[in-house]
């Protein structure tokens, strides 16, 4: 079962980044093989929605992180093997062999595959790997593949020894024609291993923690010291949400860090559902059915819809999903900013109050309409947090640390005043 999400959420969280190399995915991508990279991308596109699977994956990576193990292969080994095996793919597609690899290619490819298999055998045979219960399933699968009788001569082959022409021909037939399916499965396993080991290495380096997934149904989220993994000098924040406190109403000035906190929190929830370590001190969460964020909603002037109408459509989408009795994690940044104050106020209160009555889901809404917050205090399931602004003379300073309550800090006017716009106009020549 996979976590449902959408394009807007993936864009909001910057999972894949706009340009190459600046998304959350790129931050986690330390893989050695192209196949591993593709697997990682798949995992990022499809977070899980199953407690057992999440915890199992998370324990595998945690185990490898604890062992501090390195990926036991050279990336170039895979390049050679993959290039050689491509010819098998072409053949299996048409049923007739069309592309024949050159002699040199066969030689390099066969040697690479043999080395891969031997090293894999060594790897799964080590005591540490054998001792990892979470990894047992993968380990057994690999052992089973390798201990197949047909591969027996492969494992007997002396490392780095030069193969005779006849042996090479025999292996070529074995790898590329007869047992291609098994070789492919083995590579698939190794790609996953690449992902596990590289993420484990990242976790140790960045001191990421492994979240604990809880049963689905009773919404729960406890974050300690959560921060955005892309920040240089991040400030961690704590937040606990549960069934009795399922809506958080977040206020704060423009630069106080609301969007960043919402991103950090949503990213943590998203990554945790992949079973990966996250940027925090600790995290516990109940597994959700879906995650939806609305942080940077674009104006769609092309189709003639107003920003407000876009926001309404977005809320409607959430409402429809919720009405299917799903357990969702929903984030709205600056809800209803595209309209006048009164409408924004009424709409925020109406929607937030309606959210607060839905059981089974968690909501975080940030807003500038402080009055809406005051009205929402009557709803028992709504909690209030704010990110403070401290005025140091005329210069605003930000702590980026959540506090309990509502704030009406604003500094738009401070900036206008600091720039002296009103003074210029006050003292100008008026005729």
């Amino acid at each position: 079962m996979y976590l449902t999400t959408d394009e807007q959420t993936i864009t909001d969280l910057g999972i894949f980044g706009k340009q190459h190399g600046n998304g959350i995915y790129d931050l986690y991508n330390r893989t050695h093989t192209r196949g591993g990279e593709a697997v990682l991308k798949e995992l990022f596109l499809h977070p899980l929605s199953d407690r057992e699977e999440i915890n199992r994956r998370s324990r595998i990576i945690e185990g490898f992180a604890a062992l501090g193990m390195k990926f036991p292969f050279d990336g170039s080994l895979f390049d050679m093997a993959e290039k050689y095996l491509l010819h098998a793919d072409a053949q299996s597609m048409n049923g007739v062999q069309q592309s024949v690899p050159g002699e040199k290619e066969v030689q390099l490819g066969v040697t690479a595959v043999i080395e891969l298999m031997q090293r894999t055998m060594q790897f799964v045979g080590t005591a540490e790997v054998a001792g990892m219960t979470a990894f047992a399933q993968e380990r057994n699968a690999m052992t089973l593949l390798l201990s197949d009788a047909v591969f027996e001569p492969v494992l007997r082959e002396k490392a780095k020894s030069r193969l005779s022409y006849t042996a090479m021909t025999a292996y070529d037939a074995l790898f590329r024609l007869r047992e291609y399916g098994k070789i492919k499965r083995l590579l698939g396993q190794l790609y996953y291993l690449d992902v596990y080991l590289s993420v484990a290495k990242l976790a140790s380096e960045r001191k990421f923690v492994f979240p604990r997934a809880l049963d689905k149904g009773r919404p729960f989220l406890r974050l300690e010291g959560v921060y955005h993994p892309e920040l240089k000098n991040p400030v961690g924040n704590d937040l606990t949400m549960e069934a009795a406190r399922s809506v958080i109403f977040l206020t704060g000035a423009n630069m106080a860090g609301k969007s960043t906190f919402l991103r950090a929190m949503s990213t943590a929830v998203y990554i945790a559902h992949i079973g990966f370590p996250i940027a925090a001190r600790s995290m516990e969460f109940s597994v959700m059915d879906g995650i939806y964020t609305t942080i940077n909603l674009p104006d769609n002037l092309g189709i003639g819809a107003s920003h407000f109408y876009n926001e309404v459509l977005r809320v409607k989408k959430m409402a429809t999903e919720l009405s299917h009795r799903k357990s969702l994690f929903i984030v709205f940044d600056e809800l209803f900013r595209g309209t006048n104050v009164k409408d924004a106020h009424e709409a925020t209160v109406a929607v937030a109050a309606a959210f607060s009555k839905r059981k089974g889901s968690l909501f975080v809404i940030s807003s500038h309409i402080v009055e809406a917050g005051e009205e929402l205090q009557r709803s028992p399931t709504v909690g209030f947090r704010f990110l403070p602004t401290r005025m140091n003379g005329h210069v605003p300073e930000y702590t980026y640390t959540l506090e309990e309550g509502i704030t009406d800090d604003r500094h738009g006017m401070v900036i206008i005043r600091n720039e002296g716009v009103l003074d210029i106009l006050k003292n100008g020549q008026k005729l």
């Binding site: 423009n254 006048n340 009164k342 709409a347 839905r358 738009g412 900036i415 008026k430």
Partner: protein
């Protein structure tokens, strides 16, 4: 001093740019000659700075529009003549003669084209001067705003030497000596006079093109008053680059110098502002404006902030950029200049409350500058309520008519502040709250 306008405003109003789609320059760029295009560009870059000059140009344009002429010159011949007059000649008549003789021999001996070019250039000049003479002799120019200019050219063309040149039959052989004589005469002896003639042709080109556009599109000429009048009044004003645009009437003057504009996103607020800005700028050029009628006093500057609001994702930096823009405008206003300031969706880049406070403070502060005219639009209609006590501010809005769930826009200004509070209505229409009800 002529009206000052910066790059941002130029871009927002889409005034210049030959290759930009829908630019105002592109709309008027129906000129035929290169000289005409250069002149049109110059007129766009240098609007006029006094009412007399503006009104003179617009009356000339009006007379051209009345005459409904076709461009009386041959475009190719004009081009050849310009090129010919631009090329070098000898320092003395004798040097010119020698030079041309050498070229004529060269053309016989080798494939040298230079002699041929000189002959073609002189022939084109003769043809064009004859056309020009016919044009300036027309009865239409005997009186009226263009009479003086035409008279000066007629005097030039009546010079005995030029008359003799005009009578030269270009289909007869031209001795090298005669060729050299005229080459020297046109490029050196009567250099200034020839420049006048070339300039006139460019002018005529522009006037015919612009007045032709005005006739085709039904534009009218603004009446420009001296700066002290401090007024901007337009009826049936619309955006010149939009076909079938809806015209609107508005008046801004001392004591009523602020227009507070509200309305839904697509209702046409920005387009109205652009129409005002473009109309004002064209009027300062003495060009026809897209309005039934327009009366205005001269302005010293035009500041706008219109398209920036379309990208709200820039966040803080966007807000800051807006503040800086307002500051520039404030400094210009505070220095006592007579400006037209237009801010669309002021402070849209920030939260509703800051936008409210900012818009309110800035609008009130600008309203005190009776010398400046100010148009501000916002979706925060509450600012309007707070400004109601201020006598300088007029409230208008662009209405939205809801037909079921689909909005329709009339693009026709109405007095007051919009009450199009579609917010909750849209939410209800979408049935969101019902969807969220616990079942």
């Amino acid at each position: 001093m002529s009206i000052s306008i910066d790059k941002q405003t130029m871009d927002e109003l889409n005034l210049l740019g030959k290759f930009r789609q829908g630019s105002v320059y592109g709309l008027f760029n129906k000129v035929r000659t290169r000289g005409g295009e250069q002149l049109l560009n110059k007129l766009f870059m240098q609007p006029l700075d006094n009412a007399a000059a503006i009104n003179e140009r617009s009356s000339i344009l009006r007379s051209f529009q009345h005459a409904a002429l076709d461009f009386p010159f041959d475009v190719q011949q004009v081009g050849l003549m310009r090129d010919y007059l631009d090329t070098e000649t000898g320092k003395t008549a004798l040097a010119t003669l020698g030079n041309i003789m050498v070229k004529s021999w060269l053309s016989v001996l080798t494939r040298d084209e230079r002699y041929k070019k000189i002959v073609q250039g002189l022939q084109a000049t003769i043809v064009t001067l004859n056309r020009c003479h016919a044009f300036v002799s027309e009865k239409a120019w005997a009186a009226g705003p263009y009479a003086a200019r035409v008279g000066a050219i007629r005097a030039i063309l009546s010079d005995g030497r030029l008359e003799k040149l005009r009578r030269t039959d270009i289909y007869r052989a031209l001795p090298v000596k005669t060729l050299a004589y005229y080459d020297f005469l046109l490029k050196r002896g009567m250099r200034k006079e020839m420049k006048e003639v070339v300039d006139l042709i460019a002018e005529v080109d522009v006037y015919i093109a612009v007045s032709g556009v005005a006739r085709a599109k039904g534009f009218n000429y603004a009446h420009v008053l001296p700066p002290e009048a401090n007024i901007l009044a337009a009826e049936g004003l619309y955006h010149p680059c939009i076909d079938h645009a809806v015209g609107n009437s508005l008046t801004l003057r001392r004591g009523s110098n602020v227009l507070f504009l509200t309305g839904a996103n697509m209702a046409g607020k920005s387009t109205l502002m652009k129409s005002v800005g473009i109309g004002l700028y064209l009027a300062h050029m003495g060009f026809p404006v897209a309005a039934a009628s327009m009366e205005l006093s001269l302005r010293e500057g035009l500041y706008s902030s219109i398209n920036v609001a379309d990208n709200i994702n820039l966040g803080y930096s966007h807000f800051y950029a807006e503040v800086v823009r307002v500051k520039q405008a404030a400094e210009a206003a505070a220095s006592g200049k007579r400006l037209l300031l237009m801010f669309d969706e002021l402070f849209k880049g920030t939260n509703v409350k800051d936008a409210y406070d900012g818009t309110l403070a800035v609008t009130e502060a600008f309203a005190e500058y009776g010398n400046c005219l100010f148009i501000v639009s916002t979706h925060i209609i509450e600012v309007g309520e707070a400004l109601k006590g201020n006598g300088n501010i007029r409230f208008v809005y662009m209405p939205t008519i809801m037909e079921g769930v689909h909005p329709r826009y009339t693009y026709k200004l109405r007095e007051g502040i919009t009450e199009d509070r579609q917010g909750m209505m849209i939410i209800q229409n979408e049935g969101i709250l019902e969807l969220l009800k616990e079942d």
